[in-house]
C-alpha cells in the first residue's frame, strides 16, 4: 500500500516535471514562431510600400503628357488626316467591306 503510493507519487512527479518542461519548450517555440511571423508581417508592409512606390513610378512614366510628347517629338508620330483613314465594316457573316 505504502510502496505503491510512493510509486504513484514518483510517476505523478515525473509527469509534472515533463509537463512543466514541455510548457517551457512550447512557449519558447511559440515565441520564436511569433518573431518570424512578425518579421514576415514587416516584410509584407515593406512590400506594400514598394508596390505603392512602383505604381507611382509607373504612372509617372506613363502620364499621357509624356507619352504624347515622346510619340510626337521622338517617334515623329501624328494623327492620320481624314484622307488617310479608311473604314472597314465587318458584316454579320464575318466578311469585311470597305466603306472608305
Amino acid at each position: 500500500m505504502l510502496r505503491s503510493g510512493n510509486g504513484l507519487n514518483a510517476v505523478l512527479m515525473l509527469a509534472v516535471v515533463c509537463g512543466a518542461l514541455s510548457l517551457v519548450t512550447s512557449q519558447h517555440k511559440a515565441r520564436k514562431l511569433f518573431i518570424e511571423l512578425q518579421k514576415e508581417k514587416e516584410r509584407t508592409k515593406q512590400m506594400e510600400v514598394e508596390w505603392g512606390q512602383l505604381q507611382l513610378e509607373q504612372s509617372t512614366w506613363a502620364t499621357p503628357r509624356r507619352v504624347g510628347e515622346i510619340a510626337e517629338q521622338k517617334l515623329q508620330m501624328q494623327l492620320p488626316r481624314s484622307g488617310q483613314v479608311r473604314f472597314i465594316r465587318v458584316e454579320p457573316n464575318g466578311q469585311t467591306k470597305d466603306k472608305s
Binding site: A30, R31, F34, I35, Q38, V49, G52, Q53, Q55, L56, S59, T60, T63, P64, R65, G68, S82, V85, F87
Partner: protein, 576 residues
C-alpha cells in the same frame, strides 16, 4: 558557591503560561496581517501591481494605417500616399563634429550653418531638420550615424497627374488629412485609423508575444473617381492652349457622360502643381468650373425654346417676327447680330437671335419659364458634393419684371456654374432626363427626372445640330467623322453691377448626335486677343477635346470623315 544549584533551579522553573499564549497571539496576528495584505493585493486591489508588472515587459505599439488611394475610372492612380522619412534631432543629445555636420547638411541639401543652428539650438528638445525626404537621401543620413539625429516615418501624398487634375483632387496637409477638393470631401473614406497592439518585448526590443489587439488598424479605402485620366489630360491641354493663345484670364472644361451623369474630365486653367505647393496663389487653386458663377448668355436659349415647345406655344418651324434685330422691352433695346424681319424658331437657335428668344419667352407665363429652367437644374445643386459648390442664381418668378423675363431667355440676369450648364445639356443628349452628376465612378446609373418629352428633345437636337453647321454660330465646333450639336454663348461681364466690354465665351455641346456619348462644356473668361465670340474662342476647344475623347473611347463614327465645312469668319458673330 551554589550558583550551579541556582542555575539548575532556574532551568527547570516553569515559565508563566501567558507568555507563550501572548507570543502565539502576536505571531498569529502577524500571519493574519500578512495573509490579509496578500489577499488584498492579489484579489481586491490587484490592478496596481498588475500594471507595475506589465510595465516591465509589455508595450503598446502603434500599428500604422495608410491613407487610401484615389484612382481614375480605370484604376490609374491619381493620388497615392507613400511613406517618407523626416529627419529630426534632439539638441540635448547631439554629438557631432564640424565635418559630420557638413556631411549631414550636404545629404539634406541644406546650408551647413542652418543645420548647425537647428541641431544645437539649446532651447528646443525636438527639432525637425528636414521633413519628407526621398529614400536615397535618407540612406545617406542613416550612414552618417550621428547620435541624437533620428528618423521619423511619415506619409506623403503624390499626385502623378500633376496640374491636370489639381483642383478636383485638392490636396492634403502635412499630417495627411484632406484640406481641399475631393481629398477633403472624401476624408472619411480615405483616412486610415491607426490601430494599437499590446505586445511583450524582450530585452533587445524584439516583440516576442502578441497579447492582444487593442484596436485593429483601419486602412483608408481606395476611391475610384469617374474621371478618365486620358480625357482629363486632353481637356487640360486644350483649355491651357486656348487660355494662353487668347490671352484670357482663365478657362474651364467639363466632360460629362450624359447617360450616367459621371464627370469624365473637369479641367481649369490656370492650375498649380499639387506636388510642390510653394507660392501657389488661391486663384490657381479654385475649381472654377464648380465654384465660380457666370452669366451664361446664349447657351440658355435652348432651354427657353424647349420650354416653349413643351408648353405647346411654338414648333421648330413656327415663324417669329424678329423686328429687324431691334426690339424694345420695358424701355430697353434688345439687339441682334444677324438682323432679320422674321425667323423660324430653328433659325433663332441657329443664328442665336436675342429678339427671337425674348419674344418666345414673353409668350410664356413667367412661372412656366421659371419651371422649365429650374427643372433643367439651374439654381440647383448638381449633386457632385464638391466642397464650395456654388448653386447659381435663378430668381423666383414672382420677382421678375418683363425685361428680366426677356433677358433671362438669353441668359442674362441669372448665373450658373459650368458644371451646371453641362449637366443641363444632358437633358438634350438623353431622352429628356436630368440626372445628378457624380465625381465617383458609378456601377449603375442613378435615377433621373424627366424634364422634357422625347418629342421636344428630338426637335431641340435637330436645331442644335444646325447651330454647328456652316450657317450657324459655331461651325468651328464641327468634328471630322462625327455629328455634333451645341450652342455658343458670349456674355458681357458684370463688374461692380455694370456690364463692361469684356466677355465670357462659352460653348456647350454633345456628340455623336445619333447616340450622344459625351456632353462637353467650355468656358473662357475674358479672352483679350481680338476674338471673343463663343463660336470663335470656345467652339474650337470643344471640337478638339470632344474629337480626341471620342477617339479615346472608340466611339464609332456617325458621319463621313469629310463632313467639316468651314464657312467665312463673320458667321460666328452673335449678339452679346
Amino acid at each position: 558557591m551554589n550558583y550551579a544549584v541556582g542555575a539548575h533551579q532556574n532551568i527547570t522553573a516553569k515559565l508563566p503560561g501567558w507568555r507563550a499564549t501572548a507570543l502565539f497571539a502576536i505571531l498569529l496576528a502577524g500571519f493574519v496581517g500578512l495573509l490579509g495584505r496578500g489577499v488584498y493585493l492579489q484579489g481586491i486591489q490587484d490592478e496596481f501591481l498588475q500594471k507595475k508588472g506589465d510595465a516591465r515587459y509589455s508595450r503598446v505599439v502603434e500599428v500604422s494605417a495608410h491613407r487610401g488611394m484615389i484612382t481614375d475610372r480605370n484604376g490609374k492612380p491619381l493620388a497615392v500616399s507613400t511613406p517618407v522619412e523626416s529627419v529630426w534631432a534632439s539638441p540635448q543629445d547631439v554629438k557631432a563634429d564640424r565635418s559630420q555636420v557638413r556631411k549631414l547638411a550636404q545629404a539634406l541639401g541644406m546650408d551647413a550653418e542652418e543645420v548647425r543652428g537647428r541641431m544645437f539650438n539649446p532651447s528646443r528638445d525636438f527639432v525637425y531638420l528636414k521633413r519628407q525626404l526621398p529614400p536615397d537621401q535618407v540612406e545617406k543620413v542613416v550612414s552618417l550615424n550621428i547620435p541624437g539625429v533620428s528618423l521619423q516615418r511619415e506619409y506623403r501624398r503624390y499626385y502623378p497627374a500633376g496640374e491636370e487634375a489639381a483642383q478636383i483632387l485638392g490636396f492634403t496637409g502635412q499630417d495627411d488629412n484632406g484640406q481641399e477638393g475631393l481629398e477633403l470631401a472624401l476624408q472619411e473614406q480615405l483616412a486610415g485609423k491607426p490601430g494599437g497592439q499590446r505586445v511583450i518585448k524582450d530585452r533587445r526590443g524584439d516583440i516576442v508575444e502578441d497579447i492582444g489587439s487593442l484596436r485593429e488598424p483601419k486602412h483608408g479605402s481606395d476611391v475610384r473617381l469617374s474621371i478618365d485620366s486620358g480625357i482629363q489630360y486632353l481637356a487640360y491641354r486644350e483649355i491651357k492652349n486656348a487660355v494662353v493663345s487668347h490671352h484670357a484670364r482663365s478657362g474651364s472644361v467639363v466632360v460629362l457622360d450624359p447617360n450616367s451623369g459621371e464627370i469624365l474630365a473637369l479641367a481649369n486653367y490656370p492650375s498649380f502643381n499639387p506636388n510642390n505647393r510653394i507660392n501657389v496663389s488661391s486663384q490657381a487653386m479654385r475649381n472654377r468650373a464648380i465654384t465660380d458663377l457666370f452669366e451664361p448668355g446664349s447657351t440658355m436659349k435652348p432651354f427657353t425654346v424647349a420650354t416653349a415647345i413643351e408648353a405647346g406655344k411654338v414648333r421648330p418651324a413656327t415663324v417669329i417676327g424678329t423686328e429687324n434685330g431691334r426690339f424694345m422691352v420695358g424701355g430697353r433695346m434688345i439687339h441682334d447680330q444677324h438682323p432679320a424681319a422674321t425667323m423660324s424658331v430653328a433659325q433663332i437657335i441657329q443664328k442665336s437671335s436675342n429678339v427671337g428668344a425674348a419674344k418666345i419667352a414673353l409668350s410664356l407665363k413667367r412661372e412656366t419659364l421659371w419651371e422649365g429652367l429650374s427643372a433643367s437644374g439651374f439654381g440647383q445643386q448638381t449633386g457632385c458634393n464638391f466642397p464650395g459648390e456654388a448653386s447659381g442664381v435663378l430668381r423666383d418668378a414672382k420677382s421678375w419684371q418683363k425685361i428680366e423675363q426677356a433677358t433671362m431667355s438669353y441668359g442674362h440676369g441669372m448665373s450658373v456654374n459650368l458644371l451646371q450648364l453641362a449637366r443641363a445639356y444632358t437633358v438634350f443628349a438623353t431622352d429628356g432626363m436630368l440626372k445628378p452628376v457624380s465625381l465617383l465612378r458609378l456601377e449603375t446609373p442613378p435615377e433621373g427626372k424627366q424634364v422634357y418629352s422625347e418629342h421636344t428633345v428630338r426637335a431641340m437636337r435637330d436645331m442644335l445640330e444646325m447651330a454647328v453647321m456652316a450657317e450657324g454660330t459655331a461651325p468651328m465646333a464641327q468634328i471630322a467623322g462625327y455629328r455634333v450639336a451645341g450652342k455658343t454663348g458670349t456674355a458681357h461681364k458684370l463688374e461692380n453691377g455694370r456690364y463692361v466690354d469684356r466677355y465670357v465665351s462659352s460653348f456647350v455641346g454633345f456628340a455623336p448626335v445619333s447616340r450622344p456619348r459625351l456632353v462637353v462644356a467650355v468656358m473662357i473668361d475674358d479672352p483679350s486677343n481680338g476674338g471673343y465670340y463663343g463660336g470663335q474662342v470656345a467652339a474650337p476647344v470643344f471640337s478638339r477635346v470632344t474629337g480626341a475623347a471620342l477617339h479615346t473611347l472608340n466611339v464609332p463614327n456617325d458621319a463621313p470623315l469629310n463632313n467639316v465645312i468651314v464657312p467665312e469668319a463673320a458667321v460666328v458673330r452673335e449678339e452679346v
